[in-house]
């Protein structure tokens, strides 16, 4: 088991900065998800940790050992590829045994270890088949077995569920999570699917534009996004973000009669930030909006979708902003009717449009 430490690690391909210098520490036994849209540098980061990609600058430490310039085979890590990368000309058994054979282990030791891993992943019935004949899920199980068999210090997974059917992903997600709990191995997992990230991660590293946007637990990333990108990217739909003018404890939003009274504990912070008044972005999750006739904010129902347990209302606050409100499924809101709502004062967030960063209530941040 291992701690992975990145210090100012960066990657350039010619003029393209694929990963800007980043610092990140992944603790022993932790499940860390690198999350971000495609092209944000998350896979490159993972490949640099593995050694499949060399770094342009910075240092990578594995359990305090500097592995920056070591060959992948000298790093004691396993890598699970998006498209499995199984050896097509070998049987499942030969695939799983490959890492052990490459190390020249004895026949008995290999057999014993393969059997253990096969039992753990429940793939005993596949052993004599070739990868080409297996379903995507089974191929991924074999790929996981091949990664597990050597007992590596850390697992790196590059969108391991990306190539699977949607309904099968949930099953495999649970399996990978279970494996992580059983093995308690340090795992770095790359995905662009925020649902996957929320479900699996101990900590999420949100990346965009070649740099880290936020590092935090799923709850932190969801409830306290560090900036506008994270607020929009996490959640489906993302956080509602409405621009308005702040003055004297009230945010005036476009649209008739939209005056939002800032909760008292935020007033001081906003006064300090804007020196009395200024442009601000109010952010709130769909479930933070409370529909009520006494609500201080207003809009018109633009559309409403029934999601089974709840209804998602899409409300037109003004010509720019359509916001999303999670409302009771039993109350009907026909399209075009006016609707009033409040924001749960515990769940409101404020962003500074100049820096695009979240405004923090906590002192010293």
């Amino acid at each position: 088991m291992a701690t992975i430490e990145l210090r100012q690690v960066e990657k350039r391909f010619g003029d393209l900065q694929a990963v800007k210098p980043m610092d990140l520490t992944i603790h022993d036994g932790e499940f860390v998800v690198l999350l971000g849209p495609s092209g944000c540098g998350k896979t490159t980061t993972l490949r640099m940790i593995s050694g499949l990609e060399t770094v342009t600058g910075g240092t990578i430490l594995l359990d305090g050992r500097n592995v920056t310039w070591l060959h992948p085979s000298e790093r004691d890590i396993a890598f699970v590829f998006q498209f499995f990368a199984l050896y097509p000309h070998m049987t499942v058994r030969q695939n799983i045994a490959f890492p052990l054979q490459a190390q020249g282990e004895s026949h008995e030791a290999i057999e014993k270890r393969v059997d253990e891993v096969v039992e753990l992943l429940e793939i005993g019935h596949l052993l004599d088949m070739r990868p080409g004949k297996l379903s995507g899920g089974d191929q991924q199980r074999v790929a996981l077995a091949r990664a597990l068999v050597r007992r590596p210090a850390a697992f790196l997974m590059d969108e391991p569920l990306g190539a699977l059917d949607a309904d099968f992903r949930e099953t495999m997600r649970a399996e990978i999570k279970r494996l992580h709990i059983v093995q308690n191995a340090t795992t770095v997992y790359v995905t662009h699917d925020q649902v996957e990230a929320m479900a699996m991660a101990d900590r999420i590293v949100v990346m965009s534009e070649a740099e880290i946007q936020q590092v935090g637990t799923p709850a932190e990333v969801y409830h306290k996004p560090a900036n506008l990108f994270v607020a929009r990217f996490i959640g489906s739909p993302g956080m509602n973000l409405v621009r308005g003018h702040y003055a004297d404890g009230v945010v005036h939003m476009p649209g008739a009669d939209n005056h939002y009274s800032v909760p008292p504990d935020w007033r001081r912070v906003l006064d300090e930030t804007f020196g009395g008044e200024g442009e601000v972005i109010v952010g709130f999750r769909p479930e933070a909006a409370i529909v009520s006739d006494e609500g201080t904010l207003a809009g018109q129902v633009y559309a409403s979708d029934l999601h089974g347990a709840y209804t998602m209302l899409h409300v037109n606050m003004n010509e720019h902003d359509i916001i999303h409100i999670r409302s009771d499924r039993l109350v009907l809101h026909p399209i075009g009717t006016p609707v009033r709502f409040d924001i749960n004062p515990e769940m409101v967030r404020f962003f500074d449009p100049r820096t695009e960063k979240a405004i923090s209530r906590e002192v010293g941040q």
Partner: protein, 319 residues
């Protein structure tokens, strides 16, 4: 003016009309029959006629009709120890030449696969020997092998013709070295056809996905282990096809040897195809007997090819 236009227009119309009268089937026939007739005249007829001649006593230059002799030709060929000697020479030649081509071709493919500055040009240059006519190759290698002024020996470091090997004469420093001439022919065949093996292996190598090697590196496989467990099995089907082609060609090998040694010295490079030519078109023109011999060679080649194909299918079935 307008009437001329009219006439042209109607002319074009009638031509179009006449095309329309040709049914699809008629057009098919126009295209197919000339080819078919050529094929029948120059391939199918000779094939069956030579099979018939194989059972006759016949010489193409004698004023005498073929005389049916049954299996006599085949019996005499299979009992002819001299001919078995030629078959053995051909076998040795095929094993040596195909074996070396495979090794060299594979090696070249592994080299050229690495992209380096000028690798494209080098690949093209390597392919040149394959594109030259075998007779031309035979003739200029005859010059290169010449013990007095050929530069093959010079390149090997032999500068004194008296002590240098006379490749095509199977002599070295005044001593007879049997087999030297056969090796000389093997060297030329390897020079000429290794690029062919290289080409097929190269396409096989390029088809191996990069992620297999990435997975292998992660799995801590050494380069050597990767070669034996990934590269070789992945390329094997194409390599086998290359070997199959070259084996068939080696058994039929004629033009190169004829151009270089004509079977000599003595019968040291008398490959079976060379002997076939000798029996058929030189001296007595033993058309009947040589037809029978040609069929025996054909049967051997089919048998050998079938072994390969069986193995190939087995490998594919597993894959």
């Amino acid at each position: 003016m307008s009437s001329v236009k009219q006439a042209t227009a109607t002319g074009a119309d009638t031509r179009l009309q006449s095309h329309r009268h040709l049914s699809d089937r008629a057009i098919q026939n126009i295209f197919i029959w000339p080819t078919l007739i050529l094929l029948i005249a120059f391939n199918v007829f000779p094939l069956f006629y030579s099979l018939y001649l194989g059972f006759t006593d016949y010489s193409a230059i004698a004023r005498q009709a073929p005389v049916w002799v049954g299996f006599e030709n085949f019996r005499s060929i299979l009992n002819d120890e001299q001919l078995w000697e030629y078959f053995a020479t051909t076998g040795r030649y095929a094993v040596a030449s195909v074996g070396l081509q495979t090794l060299l071709g594979f090696g070249l493919a592994m080299l050229v696969r690495e992209k380096f500055k000028g690798s494209g040009v080098i690949t093209t240059l390597i392919l040149v020997p394959m594109m030259i006519s075998p007779v031309v190759v035979g003739l200029f290698w005859k010059l290169m092998y010449n013990p007095t002024f050929g530069y093959f020996n010079y390149l090997l470091g032999f500068t004194n013709p008296a002590t240098a090997p006379d490749w095509l004469g199977s002599r070295w420093g005044g001593q007879a070295v049997p087999g030297l001439a056969l090796w000389a022919v093997v060297i030329v065949d390897v020079w000429m056809w290794s690029p062919f093996v290289m080409l097929l292996v190269l396409s096989g190598l390029n088809a191996i996905p990069e992620y297999l090697y990435e997975a292998a590196v992660i799995d801590r496989a050494s380069s050597w282990f990767q070669f034996w467990r990934i590269t070789l099995p992945q390329v094997a089907p194409l390599l086998l096809i290359a070997i199959l082609f070259r084996t068939i060609e080696a058994f039929k090998s004629f033009d190169l040897v004829m151009g270089m040694t004509g079977g000599g010295p003595g019968t040291q490079t008398e490959l079976i195809a060379v002997n076939l030519y000798r029996q058929a078109f030189l001296g007595q023109w033993r058309t009947g007997r040589s037809s029978a011999l040609a069929y025996i060679i054909l049967i051997i080649i089919i048998a050998v090819s079938n072994l390969y194909i069986k193995y190939l299918n087995q490998m594919r079935g597993e894959g």
